[in-house]
Point group: C2
Chain length 434, copies 2
């Protein structure tokens, strides 16, 4: 089997005006869909970050891909990836995921690896999770992912999506948002995107969530480095009950030493709220320092930028070895990414927390997988008895996504610019803000 074509499709999908410490989500999120076609006409697919840079990087590797054996391609391109993967300590504190040039090679490699695995799986009739070591679970748990948000369901002009969840900028509206999400998807845990309002209001939001859903539904809070060490400690103290018992405090402050300082002070106060990260630690190069500082008790993996499914499995074993928990990070994504996340999670024994997903924020109108949106039931995605990732492309839907992309004026994610455009013309991301 040889690869005869690599097709790269830049698409745009509607995205609601979600808030985070990075700023505001634009009306459309950008994604790249890739197809690897074999000489016998089987097509492997994958989804990754969107916009110009990821597409350009994929085009640049195209000549290595065409003609390669999909079983050998990942080995073939590995040395090249490694030689460029020199950036250690490439924290994305100041960069949204997908826009960090230092992990571009890992992202490109991952995009190709997963498409190869889908192609292989579809060629031999085997699900991806069983190609990479064998599933240890059939149902992969995901978390509800509430955000502070403005009114609107995403999209612009005549292309707007229904605002399923409405505006949510207060504790009460956030609780309502979570309730709706749990009713619809059955999530058994909550990942709350903080770092947007005054910490006192966010503490109140978590308290109200806990009152409504706790303690049986673990709670996580993620302000994306918005706080000082002192504020982080204050929040940890205020929410010790709410964030314990399966919850965590994710990236309260920036940098590995900062996270280590928060941990140290919390432990001195007898508070064992674990700290999670997908900002301070985003590459293997960050880990020795993180271990040294006892900076993180949970790492959020993400095959999209950690270098693919097998690198996530390496990361999981490394985390297990150092008694670090493993969760999974998410960005705005469609069903291909959701299935890839589910497959790698299914084949990763040391996955100790439910995975994040933005999937509830996307609309069926934008889905590119045949048959429409992937089902999340009882908070879980079930690995289907289908080969590869278990999904195929709806080419009409893909064409619509590409058309949306061509009409857009932007080619990368810039949450700060969106904030200035829609909320506050003087807004800047300040770290720490509180």
């Amino acid at each position: 089997m040889k690869i005869k074509d690599l097709r790269i499709h830049s698409i745009a999908i509607a995205d609601p005006p979600l808030r985070s410490s990075y700023g505001l989500h634009a009306p459309y999120a950008l994604r790249t869909i890739i197809e690897l076609e074999s000489d016998d006409g089987i097509i492997g697919i994958n989804e990754t970050y969107g916009g110009e840079a990821p597409s350009t990087a994929l085009h640049a590797i195209k000549k290595k891909v065409i003609g390669a054996d999909p079983f050998r391609l990942t080995g073939l391109i590995n040395p090249e990836m490694k030689s460029k993967r020199s950036g250690h300590d490439r924290s994305q504190t100041y960069l949204v995921p997908g826009e960090n040039p230092l992990d571009e090679t890992s992202r490109t490699y991952a995009a190709i690896e997963v498409a190869c695995l889908d192609l292989i799986g579809k060629s031999i009739g085997v699900p991806v999770c069983d190609l990479i070591g064998g599933r240890v679970r059939d149902k992969v748990p995901f978390s509800a992912y509430p955000f502070y948000k403005h009114a609107g369901g995403g999209g612009e002009g005549n292309d707007q999506r229904e605002d399923e969840y409405g505006e949510a900028l207060s504790p009460e509206t956030l609780v309502r948002q979570v309730k709706k999400m749990i009713d619809q998807y059955g999530f058994g845990s909550i990942k709350f995107k903080a770092g947007v309002l005054d910490p006192e209001l966010e503490i109140e939001t978590v308290k109200q969530m806990y009152k409504e859903f706790g303690p049986s539904v673990p709670l996580r809070m993620d302000p994306n480095s918005a706080w000082t060490v002192e504020t982080s400690v204050k929040v940890g103290v205020a929410l010790v009950k709410e964030l314990s018992g399966g919850g965590y405090l994710e990236d309260p402050t920036a940098s590995i030493p900062g996270m280590g300082a928060v941990r140290k002070k919390l432990l001195e106060l007898g508070i064992d709220v674990p700290l999670a990260t997908n900002v301070a630690v985003t590459s293997f190069g960050d880990i020795p320092s993180a271990v040294n500082h006892d900076a993180v008790q949970i790492i959020l993996c993400d095959h999209h930028y950690w270098g693919g499914m097998r690198q996530v499995q390496h990361l999981a074993k490394l985390a297990e070895t150092f008694n670090i928990g493993l969760s999974m990070h998410s960005n705005s994504h469609l069903g291909i990414s959701l299935m890839a996340m589910a497959h790698v999670a299914a084949a990763t024994p040391h996955l100790t927390y439910a995975c994040d997903t933005h999937y509830p924020w996307q609309s069926a109108i934008d889905e590119v997988v045949e048959g429409g949106r992937i089902k999340i039931e009882d908070g879980c995605v079930t690995i289907p008895e289908k080969p590869g990732l278990g999904v195929t492309l709806d080419y009409d839907q893909l064409a619509r996504g590409k058309e949306r992309y061509t009409k857009l004026s932007y080619r990368k994610r810039d949450d700060e610019a969106e904030m200035r455009k829609h909320v506050d013309p003087t807004w800047k991301r300040i770290l720490p803000r509180w």
Copy 2:
């Protein structure tokens, strides 16, 4: 595809009277050959430790294996393996590899995993290295592995093998042994098994080897924990030139703190001879303490007891992350193990040293792979363009190995007993001896 049978064959293979700090190799080494047969009649094979305990453990897992999908079996048995894999710090300082009850589950899991991969590869026509991430090299380098030895080529009575290398209990005869090995196999590095004679004599042996082959042929010295911290430092000082430049000092002394103390003292003396291990660190559970003590600069992996090929790949990434080199450990083995070692090494980017192998010490008379012994040329095993591990069983040869096994009185490796029987009736393993 389902597995319809698991066949477990205990065999014995002639082994020369090699010496180490553990004692003396018996006239026969014990191995287990397994066959996994699928419902469409394809047979996956593997080779692992021999004797009663490994065979019993494999028989115990048989009912989980029969009926399973080979793509899913490793995931299926993973949780069970994990639950038993509780032993941390399960150093094999006092136990020969394969006889450590604490890694029995890892060994059993590994034996099944590799047989599954061979079965899968043979079913779909793909080499094992390309099933587990894709080869990053086609030629896998191995080291010459000289031993102090008594006269004899292995075997007993009428079943003795030719003594190709003769007695070697002095520096000069060791050099002659290495020369013959390099002439025959083209090895580009030397792993010298020490811990047998007085350290002064062993230092002289290394110096003579270096004089003959260095500096273009890196030298490693492995006394298997025979020395005190002080002796280890003394040897490091004496052999700084000989063991640098791609060589290392392997397990000079016992325990992680002991190794850390040697490292610290050598560095204080400005000597950067790296320390390697396959005794102090033999499981993931040992690694945090090893990192903490800066006890090892190179880990010797071995899929046979680290839990299989994928665990070795995890270990390699972990080692790369913590700036630790990776080499590969060996025990007396036949061609199936050699090919499995070559395949995992081919698909492991961070393999920074040539692999060990005892293969030159075994005889064609004992080989169980069809077509006879695997070729080592220019010190390398080349991954053949064949599916799975690239080797199949010679059933006549297998039957002879089984017959040898049934005639033997022992069912486990006991190098200490062999020393008492053949060399010194009062011999005991004493650590440290010097």
